[in-house]
């Protein structure tokens, strides 16, 4: 039994996983595989104040950036304002884009900054202390609560897809805004750690630490909701 479970846990060398990180979600893989639109011509036109270039840029990137803003803010109406600010800033400050990162990374950066600014100004802060939902261990290093229950295969039996979406969205909403941003850029958008670091002005090491901790927190939240030990 354990042998089969272990194979399932480590047997992930499928053709998909040979080219993409094992944790990359189908959506992230899909986004990765799409060739990035060539923004260089648009950037040059933007730098010259070309209004049509701004509209082209909007058409290319607005859906993706709206989704990011919405996930960080949790609200559609504010996401609209964020997107407005982002494209206006991109138009005004195109000349300050030096090309040290991809243009799309710069747009992600503008979006996350605008969204986090709004979160900071908001009175409705819902994130919680992580400790309760992180794994805990005995002195000898074993899991504190044993056995650890594997609910990965039974989740869909207990809950409808819509309910599962709601559970995950709620857990995401309880993360600190910066950690939520890391999860959104990594697990929803499929950005690399390096790209996320550039977008959030963090070190790659800090991105990895935040990503792992945020995932552990989400996992603990889901476990708790399902009636198991969060740890």
């Amino acid at each position: 039994m354990l042998a089969r479970q272990v194979s399932a846990a480590i047997g992930v060398q499928t053709p998909l996983c040979q080219t993409a990180p094992q944790t990359m979600t189908p959506r992230a893989v899909q986004r990765r595989r799409k060739s990035a639109p060539d923004d260089s011509a648009i950037i040059e036109r933007l730098k010259n104040g070309d209004q049509e270039a701004l509209e082209t840029l909007f058409k290319l990137h607005s859906a993706k950036l709206f989704s990011v803003a919405q996930r960080i803010l949790g609200e559609t109406s504010e996401a609209e304002e964020v997107i407005q600010d982002v494209f206006w800033t991109a138009y005004r400050k195109a000349k300050s884009f030096k090309g040290n990162s991809q243009f799309s990374t710069w747009l992600y950066r503008l979006t996350v900054n605008a969204a986090l600014g709004r979160v900071r100004r908001s009175k409705n802060k819902t994130h919680v202390e992580y400790e309760e939902f992180l794994p805990k261990f005995q002195k000898d290093g074993h899991h504190l609560v044993r056995p650890v229950v594997d609910w990965s295969d039974t989740l869909e039996e207990k809950y409808a897809q819509r309910e599962i979406q709601s559970l995950v969205a709620n857990a995401l909403g309880r993360l600190k805004p910066i950690d939520r941003s890391v999860i959104v850029l990594s697990d929803l958008e499929g950005l690399s750690d390096k790209e996320i670091a550039a977008a959030l002005n963090l070190t790659v090491s800090a991105v990895k630490t935040r990503l792992h901790r945020a995932r552990l927190f989400l996992r603990g939240n889901l476990a708790a909701v399902l009636g198991h030990s969060a740890t």
Partner: protein
């Protein structure tokens, strides 16, 4: 000069806590081969860590499938209209500066 610990210097994996710390690197294929072998060896003897890894992977997969509302057509039109007006206002301002400077 700082150097990464060699396998010989590093403490072998003997606890679930160490395993948990290594999950991110394992899933991203960033563990060195020897450490990866140790990680998988621990999985063979520890059902708790297998279950923990499965639920961690499930969490990541679920987060990746979260749906968001599409940007609606009225919103798209509103934002585009806002951007056009602002861009035109700037262009008009620049023109007026130009004429003032040249007159």
């Amino acid at each position: 000069m700082h150097r990464a610990k060699t396998v010989a210097q590093r403490k072998p994996i003997d606890s679930c806590k160490q395993m948990t710390d290594l999950i991110l690197g394992y899933l991203n294929n960033r563990l060195k081969p020897a450490l990866r072998r140790e990680f998988e060896q621990h999985l063979r003897i520890c059902p708790d860590c297998v279950h923990f890894l499965n639920t961690y992977k499930k969490t990541v997969a679920l987060a990746g499938t979260l749906k968001t509302s599409e940007i609606s057509e009225p919103v798209r039109r509103n934002v585009l209209s806002f951007l056009r007006q602002k861009a035109l206002a700037i262009a008009a301002l620049m023109l007026s500066w130009f004429f003032q400077a040249t007159s």
